[in-house]
């Protein structure tokens, strides 16, 4: 799997101030039947963007200029809660969204973002609200990942926290499995020997039909 490196990003931001936008809103379950990972952008927020008969809802932010192709989302608390479906992140990526800023995130969604080169930024609710107001006025945000800074005209730069390993992986576009196998192949083998001694019944499934 190739992951696009993330260093810095400048663009307008779509504001979705609603709280608890769950993964079912981001990517409705019925589209989970699609087995591809790419090309899911059109399904992102599908039922918010389209009426039941397929008409665009003009009031939804991602249907409005200039936010149609916004690479950044400024969202409400608990964004991406609910199911573990990674399609929620792939659908955002499919629309070119590389960064989501919110007061808090659903835990699995949050982890899935990093795995796919999407940067989730957690900021205090008051800062998110100010960013949302500027975003709604059409302001451009610059996310500087190496410097861990969000810059936008109209307010002082905001710094954000990120775990060093996640930052490094994002900047380099590293695939998690490759990193892990390279660094810990030996540890895994050593552990298996020890584990087999304690719970041997977990290593006998090969013998079963």
């Amino acid at each position: 799997m190739t992951i696009q490196p993330f260093t810095s990003l400048t663009g307008i931001a779509a504001s979705l101030p609603e709280e608890n936008i769950d993964t079912d809103v981001i990517y409705p379950a019925r589209f989970l039947l699609i087995t591809a990972r790419d090309g899911l952008g059109n399904y992102a927020f599908h039922d918010r963007r389209f009426t039941a008969d397929g008409q665009e809802r003009p009031e939804f932010v991602l249907n409005r200029a200039p936010w149609r192709d916004a690479p950044i989302l400024v969202a409400g608390a608990n964004f991406g809660s609910g199911s573990s479906r990674e399609q929620a992140v792939w659908a955002l990526l499919g629309r070119g969204i590389r960064c989501v800023i919110a007061p808090s995130f659903g835990e699995i969604f949050h982890a899935n973002c990093y795995r796919n080169g999407v940067l989730p930024v957690t900021l205090p609710a008051a800062d998110v609200a100010r960013l949302a107001a500027l975003a709604e006025a059409g302001a451009e945000l610059t996310i500087d990942l190496p410097g861990q800074i969000i810059a936008v005209e109209g307010m002082a730069p905001l710094s954000f926290a990120i775990a060093p390993d996640r930052k490094q992986a994002l900047i380099n576009g590293w695939d998690e499995t490759a990193v892990l196998l390279n660094a810990h192949g030996k540890d895994i083998a050593v552990f298996e020997t020890r584990h087999r001694a304690v719970q041997p019944w977990l290593f006998e499934e090969e013998a079963r039909p």
Partner: protein
Amino acid sequence: MTAPQTLYDKLWHSHAVAELPTGETLLYIDRHLVHEVSSPQAFASLRAAGRRLRRPRTHLAVADHAVPTRQRGGDIADPLARAQVAELEENAAAFDVPYRALTGDGQGIVHVIGPESGFTLPGITLVCGDSHTTTHGAFGALAFGIGASECGTVMAAQCLKQRKARTMRVELVGTLPAHVTAKDVALAFIAKVGALGAQGHAVEYAGPAVEAMSMAARMTLCNMTIEAGGRIGLVAPDDTTFAYLRGRPMAPRGSRWDQAVAYWRTLRTDVGAGYDKQVTLDLAGIAPHVSWGTSPDEALPITATIPDPAAIADDSARRHAEKALAYMDLKPGTPLEQVAIQRVFIGSCTNGRIEDLRAAAEVVRGRTVAAGVQAIVVPGSTQTRQQAEAEGLDSIFTAAGFEWRHAGCSMCVAMNDDRLAPGERCASTSNRNFEGRQGPGGRTHLMSPAMAAAAGIAGHLIDVRKLLS
């Protein structure tokens, strides 16, 4: 002497491969359940990188989410679902992963067949690309849902990077009143702590009321932990656990069984071990619960009325309630028992086990589904379906006007053709009442199997105890 440890600590430490500089742990994964929806991309990533599975036979694959439940055998009508199931079958064959055929006796919802087969065992780590993997914690297994990329990592490396959670002890005391079930306890617990109340925590359910619960009840409880935000639910394994597992096809046998049980008995929280959070719930006064909103924590005793958002102090809860009531088309002050329903769904990994079907059948026996209500029973596994048929439960349901279906996730997630029409209201034994979860515009009320059965008979939400006493 080592410091006293919680059950979670023990499971965690016994699977720690390496401590990473980031504060995360590389955790060894013993078992992985694979289904058609979250696995295609993982297999694709293996192919792209030229990787094999490290231990193919520690995985178990089955199609459950998208499969039709009206009939088994023959082609699946929906081309997308057909392709998805075919892809799982091909991937399983290509990568030597054991596969439970759709038409075979071993098919069913991942979280039902794992325990049923003895694939789920105490003391293991178990993952699946599905958030209700919390279910398996009922056996004292460290079980949690993961994303599709992680599925690929587990396949290739048998490991995952994880950050240790905080711990929360939920002490259940008192005796459950008649016809009040683990589902009601789960809904009451989630309503009490909120949809984020257990976020970041591994939840251990303990206390006399948990010890008295069957495995089915413990699974229901652990299953719903994710609806309180917790990725891990746990119950310490005990004689009830061992009695359930003994003789299951994939459980250890002979001297290995005795050796395993001896080890499993050590999987208890030590006296003096501390938790980050403690909650006590007295079950004695609990009434059957139903959800009224679009978040699982928006649930109340059936004896209550629809709440008035204006009376909710917390800003975000109030806004959510207002939106929920608009979506659910409900008015504050309406008694819950006056809410009319058009559909009933009995099934899912929360409440699709034989015990659940028995409880629903007890309510349904000799009664008839209300006019205008369409009710379906979808067993959680093919084995459960066969068991129910052997007990004659299917004829109780069909005589009352329920449809008797084949096993799958069905209307829990509405990925097959079992779904609500816009505006339809459903009494459902599943786990999520999110907007559109059971079909776009559909309205879900979560409840126990007995309560859902009673709603089907009455045509509206009703306290099942009125029908049974």
